[in-house]
């Protein structure tokens, strides 16, 4: 068996790293298309067509990162998976219902009569919203270490709003890059609003985070690590301020640099995620279960690692290729 020399600890680190990568890519990629769904205006049909056209070629593959993430959790850390999803059974069910609704609406809307099209559009919007709220709520409860008391619930609700704002923000940035004219103007407004809510959300969640676990507070508020770590929130807020400036200037920039807000949003996601990862490593469920507690059999992990090493770079390569093919402004939604 290849990778025989890797110890269980190293395998644990590799798999938690892969899981992290899958979650981060999911949050960014499905994040923007969920965000576009949440923003869908119920009254303006023209906008809805263009907005959905902008995510058409991507949403399927974006959602696959969630399947990979839950799959990795399932077999690399099976006990964590069952603890996590048994506690969060109801929100997970609601999230799945949301994903079902939006996934099918996307295809039904293009094929049915005009009267029904609006109903599918609405089901796309509310399905997206249900998904983002449920994901945020699950993230919140997860961070508390699967607590279910009233404080944890409050934190989870805050997190639900925060995640929804983050998705809506990156969705708006995506539209700035992909859309033109009126829709783009609308996207600027959405991005500005989203930015404010997101900034408030990041501050709120960060502070609440410090009160949840003693060792996390110790890590972030102690010298010398704390100073080094401060670079993360500082960079994050510099980026958010920069984004505010960019959003002000871009409408008068003749279409230059329309990719900037999306890039900034992407970096903010990466930074927030790394702050989160630094806080909770080596736990796979914060304060409850470490990577090593939950890790499954090393030989099975080695067997899958062979495929992972070969296939994941290929996946990243052809994903990049598809983004290159469909780069630029999105075209009218038409199947061929």
């Amino acid at each position: 068996m290849p990778f025989e020399s890797l110890s269980a600890e190293t395998l644990g680190d590799i798999y938690i790293g892969l899981l992290g990568l899958a979650v981060l890519l999911y949050a960014i990629l499905d994040g923007y298309d969920l965000g576009v769904g949440v923003l869908l205006p119920p009254r303006e049909e023209k906008f809805r067509d263009d907005m959905i056209a902008s995510i058409g070629p991507y949403w399927d593959a974006n959602e696959t990162w969630l399947v990979l993430a839950v799959g990795l959790l399932l077999f690399a850390f099976p006990e964590a998976h069952s603890a996590f999803l048994q506690t969060l059974y109801i929100p997970a069910t609601l999230m799945l219902i949301g994903l079902i609704l939006r996934g099918v609406s996307f295809d039904f809307r293009a094929k049915v009569a005009q009267v029904k099209k609006r109903s599918w559009d609405l089901s796309f919007k509310w399905g997206s919203l249900l998904t983002t709220l449920a994901q945020g709520y699950m993230l919140g409860i997860f961070v508390t270490g699967l607590r279910t008391d009233i404080w944890a619930q409050g934190f989870a609700l805050l997190s639900a709003l925060g995640v929804t704002a983050a998705y809506a923000f990156i969705g708006a940035c995506w539209l700035i890059m992909k859309a033109e004219n009126q829709l783009q103007e609308k996207a600027f407004t959405w991005a500005r609003r989203g930015l404010v809510v997101l900034a408030a959300g990041i501050i709120g969640v960060s502070i609440a985070n410090l009160t949840l676990h003693d060792d996390v507070r110790a890590l972030w508020l102690s010298a010398p690590w704390g100073y080094a770590l401060m670079a993360i929130p500082l960079t994050c807020f510099t980026l958010l301020v920069l984004c505010a400036v960019v959003l002000k200037k871009l409408p008068h920039a003749d279409g230059h640099g329309e990719w900037l807000p999306f890039l900034i949003a992407l970096l903010v996601f990466v930074l927030s995620f790394s702050a989160f990862a630094i806080s909770y490593y080596p736990y796979v469920i914060p304060g409850q279960m470490t990577v090593m507690d939950a890790l499954s059999d090393a030989n099975s992990l080695r067997f899958l690692l062979v495929g992972t090493v070969i296939v994941v770079p290929c996946i990243l390569a052809y994903t990049a290729m598809v983004y290159k093919i469909f780069a630029g402004k999105s075209e009218k939604l038409s199947y061929y």
């Binding site: 399932l74 069910t93 099918v104 293009a110």
Partner: protein, 453 residues
């Protein structure tokens, strides 16, 4: 009702709903590849017309398969935590390989297939179609390998009740896998063929006189006529393989209680598990022995040899007869229709009606077949290794009632919407214009101009 029964019902609901869509897409992807290749190598624009219609059906079907599949990937952990705890070391990597080698491939290249034709060179679009077809089949390979291992496990060892993998090639290519894989791929081919033939016939019944539905009908009917005898043969081989490894399942399929020499083939009966006998038997003497042992007097093991360890008899017994019944009907219809097409070049009205009525017949046979094999494995989840009752969740019953109700409502709505939308797409296609002579010229020109290759 307890969480055990509800979890089983919920999983049965989910997986039954899910399998409808991959059963279509697996083979439909290869049909699309065939249409695209014909379009690339001939001057006839009708192939592209066919591609365009069926690629939209494919997109819708694929989306339904994806969303119901995502739901299932969560339920392994939520409703069957014992499954991953006990056999996760085998099941995990196989599922992982499915995600890595198939899901991303299909989902990514589907984007090019649906929206990319004006963005990429034509050969890249054809290649994307091929890759999607390969992806769907690869996905079937991994999931059927895992499913087959659950029926005929090997290549593992059990330490303290937990399964550890020892030999991966033995696990992947376990004894029932080749048979199940071929049987399922052929089932997919038949389901897609009858869907294409049925919806094309429906279009013609609604007054569509264009070339596209005629051609689709012909391709699909001939394909079905070729696949159905292969399927009957493959099914027979699969049955013999099951007899070797899971004789209790075959005994339930045949409704045979006592081990018998010269066991009869029951055409109809009402199995009574309490009395351990059948009522109202209609049988061919020696038939089951002949099919299973190729000897009219051969010995077939009965259910009483497996008391307490055999599946519920009635469900397996009836499902098996539904599957066989639909299969024989497919044989009759596809051969008759093919004969008519071959002799007269077209079908009479009544035959179009029959085909339209059988558009979704593949679903019934496929579901019935899966019920035979999955219920036939009970009371085990993994034969001889893990009982279904030992894998179930400790969730409160109320939670499972809640999720079950939601899924049931949504799936019912989606199933009706799906079928109604396909019919609507057919009716709308009637109003499309026939291929014009300009279009033909263009297709011809595009063959010659290097700019478009």
């Amino acid at each position: 009702m307890d969480a055990f029964l509800l979890s089983r019902l919920q999983f049965a609901l989910n997986i039954s709903f899910h399998i409808l869509f991959p059963t279509i897409t697996m083979a439909l992807a290869w049909f699309l590849f065939y249409f695209k290749i014909r379009s690339d190598t001939t001057d006839n624009p009708v192939w592209m017309r066919m591609y365009r219609f069926w690629v939209r059906v494919f997109a819708l079907t694929f989306a339904l398969g994806v969303v119901s599949g995502v739901t299932m990937s969560f339920q392994f952990g939520t409703n069957w935590p014992g499954f991953m705890e006990k056999v996760g070391n085998v099941a995990g990597p196989l599922l992982g390989y499915e995600v890595l080698t198939a899901f991303f491939l299909e989902a990514t290249f589907l984007g090019i297939m649906l929206f990319g034709i004006r963005k990429v060179p034509n050969w890249v679009h054809t290649l994307a179609t091929l890759i999607v077809a390969v992806g769907t089949s690869t996905s079937a390979f991994w999931i059927l390998s895992l499913n087959s291992w659950m029926h005929t496990p090997q290549g593992h060892e059990v330490i303290d009740g937990v399964v550890f993998a020892k030999d991966w090639s033995q696990i992947i290519f376990n004894p029932s896998f080749p048979y199940r894989f071929v049987h399922m791929m052929l089932a997919s081919g038949l389901t897609a063929s009858f869907l294409i033939a049925g919806l094309s016939a429906y279009r013609m019944l609604k007054g569509d006189t264009k070339e596209a539905p005629k051609k689709s009908l012909k391709v699909a009917t001939y394909t079905a006529a070729i696949l159905i005898p292969l399927q009957i043969f493959a099914g027979d081989m699969h049955g013999l393989n099951t007899l070797k490894h899971q004789p209790q399942k075959v005994a339930a399929m045949e409704g045979l209680w006592d081990t018998t020499e010269g066991a009869p083939l029951l055409l109809f009966a009402i199995p009574d598990e309490d009395a351990r006998e059948n009522h109202f038997e209609l049988a061919i003497p020696g038939g089951a022995s002949f099919i299973l042992t190729h000897d009219l007097q051969g010995e077939v093991q009965g259910l009483n040899d497996f008391k307490g360890k055999h599946p519920p008899v009635a469900q397996v017994f009836y499902s098996f007869r539904v599957m066989i019944g639909v299969g024989l009907l497919m044989l009759l219809v596809s051969w008759t229709a093919s004969f008519m097409l071959w002799r007269r070049g077209e079908l009479p009205l009544w035959m179009k009606k029959v085909l339209a009525g059988m558009a979704f017949s593949g679903w019934i046979a496929t579901l019935a077949g899966w019920y035979v094999t999955e219920i036939g494995r009970q009371p085990y989840l993994v034969t001889g290794v893990l009982k279904t009752a030992d894998a179930v969740t400790g969730l409160p019953t109320g939670n499972v009632v809640f999720s079950f109700t939601l899924y049931a409502i949504i799936y019912a709505v989606l199933l009706v919407s799906y079928m109604a939308t396909l019919m609507l797409m057919c009716r709308r296609a009637v109003e499309l214009e026939e291929i014009t002579s300009e279009e033909r010229e263009k297709a011809k020109a595009s063959r010659m101009s290097p700019a478009n290759t």
